[in-house]
Amino acid sequence: MTDVLNTLALVSNFIIVPGLAYGSQLALGALGITIVYAVLRFSNFAHGEMMSFGAMITILVTWVLQARGINLGPLPTALLALPLGIVATIGLCLATDRLVYRYYRQKRASPVTYLIVSVGVMFLMGGLIRFVIGPNDQIFADGARFIMKAREFKQMTGLNEGLAIKSSQGVTVLTAVVIVAVLFWFLNRTRTGKSMRAYSDNEDLALLSGINPEQVVFIAWIIAGTLAAVAGTLYGLDKSYKPFTFLQLLLPIFASAIVGGVGNPLGAIAGGFVIAFSELIVTFAYKKVLGYLLPTGLAPEGLAQLLSTDYKFSVSFMILVIVLLVKPTGLFSGKTL
């Protein structure tokens, strides 16, 4: 019995808790991609840099607040700075749309032209970010490090295995839940939200119904900017902030969006968790689990790991390939926005 409980604690500690946090971050990122795709109809390669930008502004504001001694007690100060990060990212998105994307919209450019344009935007934003904050690691997490420490859990339960929950993980999951709830309320309950779904569903009919495409695009960028800033900040809080990582994050985020079916927000969320948990499950060393569950003597000598941790990012790609091969429209296709 204790063996089973120990296994549960072990799996929670190394797979479930980190998976929930990482999955939330991916889901928020994938939602941003999906919204832009559903309304503007292109794959936005600059989304990673948008996340990076939001996180950067949040970090800068956090530093200012920290220097003035303003904080949220046990919560990270970054939460206080996040609204400014969001506003700045929205501003960046709207400015980019005005200066760059709008022209191609009026020209009714092909999706692949948009894609190349977004690569240009990615360069520009990436350069801007590195110019402002430099290419290095930045640490900005503060407040209490843990909601629960491994040692406390062991004392509490008397188990061998500890279960640690970082506050950044808790904050991530809670924030993601709130953001997603608000987003779905907006899309399904408000007139503007519904008009966005209608536009995404059938552009011509939406025009006929008097829905203003420029307004829909405007709102789409506001949502995408918000999601990007939140996702970037949460990822930075949980791991650490480094401009370079956001280009790497692009792949798991795209994978999440496609696995769930591009253009479908519920799918994007599901996809985020599918990717996050797969990465952890495939790269987890099962040595200890097997040690608990198998009779003594049968436990393996090696780490019993399916794939080395170095290949974490490649898992998302493999899932992407499998989905593309088996069900190219994604697991939750059929319903957009």
Partner: protein
């Protein structure tokens, strides 16, 4: 005719810019830039075959270039007998199991369509079992190989063949992987190809970084044999010593310039051959068909053209050219550094070259490769000079001034983004536009 003069002028201006660097900085620097311009031009030609001829967006240029680099290592490095003794058999057997698993998986998938849902499980079972078997065989062998003098070797080495052979092999490697990627993602929506190739290129780099038994991973492979003489040998030759004395330049400079010129000669030869082949292909009925497919896929497929197969063909060809350029790049560097492969530099920069040069025009690609590489390198000194000018009014110890000067190097990312966006907007057909035939 006007166009011809205009294009010649553009190339002349480009070469003049290189010459300006030669005169103002040094000819060594100028030739180093020129050599990389040549390699960039070849890579750009490869991407142009995919994008310009067929409209395929390949975001995995980096991976294909790295495969070329791998080929350079595997072909040219001498084998490590001790490592082969320690784990050679295990590695080869393990790889054989791996390949066997993939084949078994494919065969079972193809032959069991009648099983319905069970088919997934059967294939998955074969994959998991085969993978476990492979790991069981290969893991101890890898440990043994990597334990052989890890500081010096720790890998199996290569075949000890002339490195120039790797230029072809690199192309073949890239072609093979491109075939696999294309099989999976061509025929789907256009942006899926971009994302799939972005992914595969990352995985290739992870693989090269982590499979030490093959590539030494992040320990890098140094001292690849060269196809051209070494500077130190040149410095000992009598003719060069005499020559240097006659013209009054330093021996070291002269020798390294000669080496770079040798490389340049080789690269120019390859570039000319590939350019000639590309032009011939573009003007042939095959090229016309490719453009027809690019411009109207539906119409082309309605006329009985097998669009997916043609796309696969062109994707493999273009990737092979990129792989070749990758092998040449590693040859020029004389070392293989997996960490040096960054998507911004190896994928997206090449894309800027294609677009700025003029998609669909091979000469445009060559020019684009030259122009963008030149400014990628020179943006740093130019950016720094610009920043110094801007900040000259500030106090010497102003933190803002320091910050701006420190980060001036990142200006080049911004510059590239800006150039790409401006070209897309105001000259979407590039410096040398595609010729309408």
């Amino acid at each position: 005719m006007n166009n011809l003069y205009r294009n010649l002028l553009l190339f002349a201006v480009m070469l003049a810019l290189v010459a300006v660097v030669g005169i103002s900085q040094s000819w060594n620097v100028a030739l180093a830039i020129l050599n990389l311009c040549l390699i960039s031009a070849i890579m750009t030609l490869g991407v142009n075959i995919q994008w310009g001829y067929a409209g395929l967006f390949n975001a995995g240029v980096m991976g294909f270039a790295a495969l070329g680099g791998l080929a350079a290592v595997l072909i040219s490095m001498p084998p490590v007998p001790a490592a082969w003794q320690a784990g050679g058999n295990g590695v080869v057997t393990g790889l054989a199991f791996g390949i066997g698993t993939v084949l078994a998986g494919i065969i079972s998938w193809r032959k069991t369509a009648h099983l319905g849902g069970k088919r997934y499980w059967l294939t998955a079972l074969i994959a998991v079992a085969g993978y476990t078997l492979m790991r069981w065989v290969i893991d101890p062998a890898i440990v043994a190989v990597e334990a052989v003098e890890p500081a010096k070797t720790g890998f199996l080495g290569g075949f000890g063949l002339p490195i120039m052979l790797s230029w072809l092999v690199g192309g073949a490697f890239a072609a093979g992987v491109a075939w696999l990627v294309g099989k999976v993602s061509l025929g789907l929506r256009s942006d899926y190809l971009a994302i799939a190739t972005l992914g595969i290129s990352e995985i290739i780099i992870y693989f090269l970084k982590n499979e030490d038994w093959l590539t030494r991973g992040v320990k890098n492979v140094n001292g690849l044999p060269r196809p051209v003489p070494y500077e130190i040998d040149l410095q000992h030759t009598v003719w060069l010593q005499n020559w240097v004395e006659t013209y009054g330049i330093s021996l070291i400079d002269a020798s390294s310039i000669i080496v770079k010129l040798c490389y340049a000669g080789l690269f120019v030869a390859v570039l000319v051959v590939i350019l000639w082949l590309s032009e011939t292909a573009l003007k042939s009925p095959w090229g016309r068909m490719m453009r027809a497919i690019r411009d109207n896929e539906t119409a082309a497929s309605a006329m009985g053209k097998n669009v997916t197969w043609r796309h696969l063909q062109v994707f493999v060809l273009g990737s092979a050219v990129v792989g070749m350029a990758g092998a040449m790049l590693t040859t020029l560097d004389g070392q293989f550094t997996p960490t040096a492969y960054q998507p911004l530099r190896f994928t997206f920069l090449i894309w800027v070259m294609v677009i700025v040069g003029g998609s669909g025009n091979n000469f445009g690609s060559v020019l684009g490769g030259f122009v963008i590489w030149f400014f990628w390198i020179e943006a740093e000194p130019i950016g720094l000079a610009l920043m110094e000018l801007i900040t000259s009014g500030m106090a010497q110890d102003s933190p803002l001034r320091h910050h701006l000067l420190d980060n001036a190097a990142h200006m080049r990312l911004m510059t590239m983004g800006l150039v790409l966006l401006l070209v897309l907007r105001f000259a979407p057909r590039g410096l040398i536009p595609e010729v309408k035939r």
